[in-house]
């Protein structure tokens, strides 16, 4: 039995699996555990934003546009050293698959085969994970980067590029102009960020629904609090009109999204090196 009470978020689209897992945990821990269940990505994000878990138990074959794996990586990118470790449940436990997953896993402590799962195996994995988890170090928070882009593929590609260059800085995403403004103003679904520092850099796509990049760029650059944050337009449009308008409205730079992944990695490498290592950011102050 672990000395630390497991505080688990289960991300699994299957209600039966949820019940089975809850029963298993009951058998081993009695009442000394907490389990929340999210059946999809969005629910998971919502729960994570309001409660601090110490373990993610994630179904790889999540029936969603994202796999449980993507979710785990995204959480890690977002929360970095504050992110709980993940125990990944996979229905396909062959060695080849596991090795492939392991190459990309950021913080997965165990892979468990669903069809071989029993209370003892689950508890062993949980206890060992909690025991091995180092205490959170008290480090200076790294500048965070915020990306606003409505295309989930583009968001994932940029996330992958960040992984490729092994950047430690937290990377966060919003999907449109309204979310971006809510995020920056720490309101609506982003109220809980009120005590966190603002992002040090914003990557902004121009073509987004609800509120487009141009409109939100103008709003941000006219806001006394937010205007200092450097904004790098990162967009597919290379149109002259967009280019000039962006600089007119105060964008700090304008970059056309590269078409290949290699070029994207190179771009992200140079962009982050410039803004994080060469430039002095306003966020570096107080």
């Amino acid at each position: 039995m672990s000395a630390i009470k497991p505080d688990i978020l289960l991300l699994d689209d299957d209600a039966n699996d949820h019940l089975l897992i809850r029963e298993m945990l009951n058998r081993v821990y009695g009442d000394e555990f907490h389990l929340d269940w999210a059946c999809n990505y969005a629910e998971g994000e919502q729960l994570v934003s309001s409660h601090h878990y110490n373990i993610f138990l994630v179904d790889y074959q999540l029936n969603d546009r994202f796999t449980g794996f993507d979710w785990s990586n995204t959480m890690y990118l977002k929360y970095k050293e504050k992110c709980p470790p993940t125990i990944l449940l996979t229905g396909q436990p062959d060695a080849e698959n596991i090795r492939a997953l392991a190459r990309h896993a950021l913080d997965v402590s165990y892979f468990l085969a669903k069809n071989e799962l029993c209370a003892e195996k689950l508890a062993r994995a949980i206890d060992s994970t909690l025991r091995n988890r180092a205490l959170v170090k008290n480090t200076t928070p790294l500048t965070s980067i915020l990306m606003a882009d409505d295309d989930p593929d583009d968001r994932l590609l940029v996330a992958d590029a960040f992984l490729e260059i092994r950047l430690e800085n937290p990377l966060d995403f919003v999907a449109d102009g309204i979310e971006l403004l809510d995020y920056l103003h720490r309101r609506g679904s982003y109220r809980q960020l009120a005590l966190s520092p603002l992002p040090g850099l914003i990557l902004l796509d121009l073509n987004m629904p609800r509120k487009g990049g141009r409109e939100v760029l103008q709003e941000i650059k006219q806001d006394a609090q937010l205007r200092k944050i450097p904004i790098v337009i990162l967009t597919t449009s290379g149109a002259e009109a967009d280019l000039v308008a962006s600089y007119q409205l105060g964008a700090n730079s304008f970059i056309v999204k590269p078409v290949t992944f290699d070029k994207l990695v190179q771009t992200i490498r140079i962009v982050t090196d410039y803004w994080l290592n060469s430039v002095t950011l306003p966020s570096a102050i107080g």
Partner: protein, 149 residues
């Protein structure tokens, strides 16, 4: 020459040693772009407005990038920055404040006034070359500049 190699880099700095060091850094990285220097804020604005001593530049393209020191006589970098970013034609030119000042006030105020970046002048020549290399790589190879189209 590629499109970005034709763009002029304009540097405004009153210190002749600093101007020389940056020129040396450009030479070190074999920069092909033309570089022009002005020594104070009044000259800077005259150059950009193609007036005073610079009327002969009336039909030539504006610089693609400005490196701007904050502390200059006659008109300092802060005032120049403000004027440039309020001018409808000049405001699209990316400005990099390149200064010895690491004062919080200067950093925050510069971004507030719309500087595109703020860089503290490195103390060693090697580090200066490194910064200059990164600056030119970022602005001429990665970023799309309004002047380049």
């Amino acid at each position: 020459m590629s499109a970005s190699e034709r763009l002029t880099i304009l540097m405004a700095d009153d210190d002749p040693d600093d101007r020389l060091l940056v020129q040396d850094a450009f030479d070190e990285i074999r920069l092909r772009n033309p570089v022009f220097f002005v020594t104070d804020g009044v000259e800077l604005m005259d150059y950009l407005h193609r007036r005073g001593n610079y009327t002969h530049l009336a039909d030539t393209a504006l610089p693609g990038l400005i490196l701007l020191d904050l502390n200059m006589p006659k008109k300092d970098g802060r005032e120049s920055l403000k004027e440039i970013k309020q001018d409808p034609v000049l405001r699209t030119i990316p400005i990099i404040i390149l200064t010895t000042s690491s004062a919080e006030e200067d950093i925050l105020r510069s971004y507030d006034l719309g500087t595109n970046s703020f860089i503290i002048k490195p103390v060693t020549f090697d580090k200066l070359v490194d910064i200059i290399r990164k600056v030119t790589q970022y602005w001429f190879e990665i970023v799309r500049l309004p002047a380049s189209n």
